[in-house]
């Protein structure tokens, strides 16, 4: 019971701050709201018996990716959005319609597939133990793991090549 309550509270916090992120005009405040949202999500992940993913979420997502966003925003001094007077009524109406339709479709799908008919696998003896996860990662998924490291190298080289100033080494 308390786990469910804690999870619902964490998710409510995550959704609240995600809303703040989407609505706020200033990009730096948006990023900070998203940091809180991701931290609340990490709390939710711990309650879903995934402590390693929660730690990785905080270290990588909230602690590295969003810091990178903040650096770019601060160094380029990106200004706050200003509300434009002509507005974009057609765009806004169509978007609102699309969002409502999509939300309805998503809820319908979840309602019909929510309770999965697949039988649950064997209950792990100690959900907090990280050794089985590590074994699985380095045996069945070793190829994906190595491919991921090559992907990160490609991203590193690509980001460097894209962001450097013209004519500098």
């Amino acid at each position: 019971m308390t786990a469910r309550f804690a999870f619902d509270a964490a998710m409510a916090l995550a959704i609240l701050f995600a809303g703040v992120m989407v609505v706020h005009r200033h990009p730096v405040k948006s990023v900070l709201a998203l940091v809180v949202s991701f931290f609340a999500l990490a709390v939710g992940y711990v309650l879903l018996s995934a402590p390693l993913i929660a730690a990785i979420q905080v270290i990588v997502y909230a602690g590295a990716i969003l810091v990178l966003f903040l650096f770019v925003l601060m160094l380029l001094n990106v200004p706050a959005e200003v509300r434009q007077t002509p507005g974009r009524p057609i765009h806004h109406t169509l978007s609102a319609g699309a969002i409502v339709a999509f939300a309805a479709a998503l809820l319908a799908v979840f309602r019909s597939y929510g309770a999965s008919s697949a039988p649950p696998g064997p209950l792990p003896s100690n959900p907090a133990d990280l050794a089985p996860l590590a074994k699985l990662l380095f045996s069945d998924h070793i190829l994906s793991f190595e491919a991921l490291s090559i992907l990160l190298l490609a991203a590193l080289v690509g980001a460097f090549a894209l962001a450097r100033r013209e004519g500098s080494p």
Partner: protein
């Protein structure tokens, strides 16, 4: 029902709400960085759904998938921000409506 007693419906509802909020942000904001942040939020909503099912079906494969998704999101964020920096240096604006040189 996950081992901790959290019904899968809760997880899916939260995931749907986060995804819809992200979608709204991606469609309605004019600022390129805000659109990017909304896309990251959508990816996290997907992660939540995957982890919810992984927990309910007592499977570890779900956690491995999420691990890879987070790493790929990191790579994507780095390259996306590099593109953003290069764009900003050229055009001095971040309003996506004004970046329209490739329009017909």
């Amino acid at each position: 029902m996950t081992p901790n007693g959290i019904p899968i419906g809760d997880v899916l509802l939260a995931s749907a709400a986060l995804f819809t909020i992200g979608l709204a942000g991606a469609l309605l904001r004019r600022n390129a960085i805000s659109i990017f942040l909304s896309i990251e939020l959508m990816m996290n909503a997907a992660n939540l759904a995957i982890l919810g099912y992984a927990s309910a079906l007592h499977s570890l494969e779900g956690q491995i998938v999420v691990f890879f998704v987070i790493a790929i999101a990191a790579a994507e964020a780095a390259v996306g921000l590099a593109i953003f920096v290069a764009l900003f240096r050229h055009t001095e604006t971040i309003d996506v409506n004004k970046i329209n040189l490739l329009k017909w």
